[in-house]
């Protein structure tokens, strides 16, 4: 892994990578807590620009990065909440940085979305996209849950059971607000109709 980023290393071998990252001394700089969340927001902006126009335009990249920045913001707020009271508060910038390394599987999935909209002919683009959303999305969902479990287990030194609990709490604290922000007015009728059937 000499030439690859730690993000790539975490994506492929999360337990080993997080163990190594936890073991190495790191002095957080002023950008430590910000650089990866900002990159995630930038990547979201790029993905939206690429899926809409097939290329990067400043107009869409900046606007979409800002309007979707609530995703990394909520992820980190949820992380801060689960870390609160566990004695990790002092090294939060470094922990945020290492935690965000675990988002690389989602990043690759997002780039896949960009690639689909850029490369697949319009007649098939939504069919391929929905397959990627369902199959690829579920795989990344499961793998990223394992990656985050490894983060809590290896970096925060939680026991297996505690790491699973913290993972679940983090998921609930972050994903519920994110999903509600994205589509609350569509989710409620869908649930009501499903419940009524």
């Amino acid at each position: 892994m000499r030439y690859f980023s730690p993000d790539a290393y975490v994506m492929v071998r999360p337990a080993t990578a997080f163990r190594a990252l936890a073991a190495q001394p790191a002095v957080p700089g002023p950008w430590t807590a910000w650089r990866r969340p900002l990159f995630i927001a930038f990547l979201l902006g790029c993905t939206i620009s690429l899926t809409t126009t097939g290329s990067l335009t400043l107009r869409l990249v900046v606007s979409a990065a800002l309007s979707w920045s609530f995703v990394p913001a909520i992820e980190i707020a949820a992380l801060a909440l689960v870390l609160h009271g566990a004695g990790h508060w002092g090294r939060l910038p470094r922990l945020v940085d290492v935690f965000c390394m675990g988002c690389s599987a989602w990043s690759v999935w997002l780039i896949g979305v960009s690639l689909i909209f850029a490369a697949v002919p319009p007649a098939h683009v939504f069919k391929v996209f929905y397959s990627w959303l369902e199959v690829g999305g579920v795989l990344v969902l499961l793998w990223s849950a394992y990656v985050d479990y490894c983060f809590f287990h290896e970096v925060l030194r939680c026991s297996g059971a505690r790491a699973r609990r913290v993972l679940l709490v983090h998921r609930l604290l972050s994903w519920i607000p994110i999903l509600l922000i994205i589509s609350l007015p569509a989710i409620v009728p869908a649930i009501v109709f499903l419940a009524g059937r």
Binding site: M1, R2, Y3, F4, S5, P6, D7, A8, A20, L21, A23, Q24, A26, R35, F39, L43, C46, I48, L50, T51, T52, T53, G54, S55, L56, T57, L58, R59, L60, S63, A64, S67, W68, S104, S107, V108, I111, S114, F117, A118, A119, V120, P121, P122, A123, H124, V125, F126, K127, F129, I181, I182, S183, L184, P185, A186, P189, A190, V192, F193
Partner: protein
């Protein structure tokens, strides 16, 4: 800064600069036929947040300009505030006409309410929902009425102003295309071509509305009078007299052919994707233990 980071930065900057340079506002062609303005309209646009879409209300306005649309109806799920924001922003920048609307989850039938001003309650039967739309002076369009929606939409067929006959669901799926056409044929409804924008190419399908003037009110009146034409891969739907009029003139079918969805891929887009992959795989280094 390392050479690696400089290279990644250069790739992304080049991709961004190339397209931003060409991302200029394009003039929307104006066509007048028999006294009617032929306006390119998309009646089904979702926005972010709160409507499962990628773009904000202001971004859909600028995208509509880029896609050479004369008007859009912003139709978020079960609310209208995003549509009002889009209308305000478009007025501010001199953008396309924005009609305020919403996609209402009626009982087993999704309806587009266009030309309204207040949010309409969801979950009611289609007929009652259409009554609420009409009371606000709006038009009701059946959104992607595939056979699963027919039981809920059927009772409202006589009161619907239009139904989507061309929609991204029909691309590459002849069964869906036939179902949307069959539903449209069940009543006297205007043919509507819509993008149902959540993500992807803006304006993939559009409706040519033959309006008396360039205004939101005139567009609503034209749909109510069934003065619409929709094109899909060489076929035309809608008012037969207007289809013939447009065919004889030739400009509207040419505009439709120019606007037909095509593969988005570009060289600068490929460079951007390569740059993003490189940023993830090689963007940062943690020395010491990870190098062992």
């Amino acid at each position: 800064m390392s050479v690696r980071l400089l290279l990644i930065g250069a790739m992304l900057t080049a991709a961004l600069a190339t397209r931003t340079w060409h991302d200029l506002r394009r003039q929307t062609p104006r066509v007048v036929l028999n006294g009617y303005q032929a306006l390119a309209v998309v009646f089904h646009v979702h926005t972010h947040p709160l409507s499962s879409a990628a773009l904000t209300p202001w971004d859909v306005v600028t995208e509509a300009q880029r896609a050479q649309l004369d008007a859009i109806a912003v139709t978020p799920h079960n609310h209208v505030w995003a549509a009002k924001m889009a209308r305000w922003f478009s007025g501010l920048i001199g953008g396309p006409i924005v009609l305020v609307g919403e996609e209402i989850s009626a009982s087993q039938c999704d309806l587009l309410a266009v030309g309204i001003d207040q949010t309409i309650a969801w979950g009611r039967r289609a007929l009652r929902t259409i009554g609420d739309i009409r009371r606000q002076g709006g038009i009701a369009i059946a959104a992607h009425p595939l056979p699963g929606d027919w039981p809920g939409c059927d009772e409202a067929v006589a009161r619907l102003d239009g139904s989507e006959v061309v929609h991204p669901l029909v691309f590459g799926n002849d069964e869906n295309a036939a179902a949307l056409r069959a539903f449209n044929a069940r009543g006297e409804m205007a043919a509507i071509g819509d993008t149902d924008f959540h993500i992807g190419q803006f304006g993939m399908a559009r409706t040519y509305v033959f309006a008396r003037e360039r205004s939101a009110e005139a567009i609503v009146e034209a749909v109510r009078a069934r003065r619409t034409v929709v094109y899909d891969r060489g076929r035309a739907y809608g008012d037969p007299a207007l289809v013939q009029l447009a065919a004889d003139d030739g400009r509207v079918p040419r505009m439709a052919a120019d606007a037909a969805p095509r593969r988005l891929g570009t060289v600068d887009g490929a460079v951007a994707i390569a740059g993003l992959i490189a940023a993830i795989l090689f963007g940062s280094r943690e020395r010491t233990t990870l190098e062992r």
